[in-house]
């Protein structure tokens, strides 16, 4: 069945280092993927998305990589800052599906 999961529930990085958050999915029909950031006490906030006809997309300090061969999605955050501390969720959708499927989430903490 469909599932979207994350390899690590928590990730700690030093301020200024790059962060990589991973996500695996099992539905080979998935064609749209989103990363969300959720800060404490707030709703998830859209970060970046990617469609299956791409393998890489860059935003401001963030890059999403999609490997359809192994059904793997990653979010890279460059020069991690204290404000990046949050829980990060991946979500996926297969064409025609009515809803996104969200992963469990990875908590990113920044060490000074």
């Amino acid at each position: 069945g469909e599932s979207v999961g994350l390899h690590l529930p928590t990730l700690s990085v030093q301020e200024g280092d790059n962060s990589i958050i991973n996500c695996a999915y099992s539905n080979s029909a998935s064609d749209y993927f989103i990363w969300y950031k959720q800060e404490s006490g707030k709703g998830p906030q859209f970060i970046i998305d990617i469609r299956s006809n791409m393998d890489k997309r860059q935003g401001q300090r963030v890059t999403v990589l999609l490997n359809k061969t192994v059904k793997h999605l990653s979010l890279q955050i460059a020069a991690t800052q204290p404000g990046d501390s949050a829980v990060y969720f991946c979500a996926e959708n297969s064409g025609g599906a009515q809803k996104l499927v969200f992963g469990q989430g990875t908590r990113l903490t920044i060490n000074p």
Binding site: G43, P44, F46, Q98, F102
Partner: protein, 114 residues
């Protein structure tokens, strides 16, 4: 422009009481979603509205849960005879048009059932 808003931000109720949670989606968004998020957990899909189509209620955990969307805009999630396990943050999201596209979330309502 204004984002998705939800009210109340916090709700404390006693076991057995009914509660109503409100969501105001982004103006013009045709799709509206409700999710539940328990402490430290991911998002659990509850229900989805798209335009005038019949809602997708496949995620509602029991018949104590129901939702309405009036006039294609505001939505209300109702939980009857609340139980302690209903305690969670209830998140609403809307998206512009096509189902499954980027969803924009509200801040959520934190429900505590004593």
């Amino acid at each position: 422009g204004a984002g998705v808003s939800q009210s109340p931000s916090n709700k404390v109720t006693e076991k057995g009481k009914d509660v109503e949670l409100r969501c105001d989606p982004i103006s013009g968004h045709t799709a509206l979603y409700w999710y539940r998020q328990s402490l430290g957990q991911g998002l659990e899909f509850l229900i989805y509205f798209q335009g005038n189509s019949a809602p997708d209620k496949s995620g509602l955990p029991s018949d104590r849960f129901s939702a309405e969307r009036t006039g294609g805009s505001v939505s209300t999630l109702t939980i009857q005879r609340t139980q302690q396990e209903d305690s969670a943050v209830y998140l609403c999201a809307s998206s512009p048009d096509r189902a499954g596209d980027t969803q924009y979330f509200g801040p959520g309502t934190r429900l505590t059932v004593l």
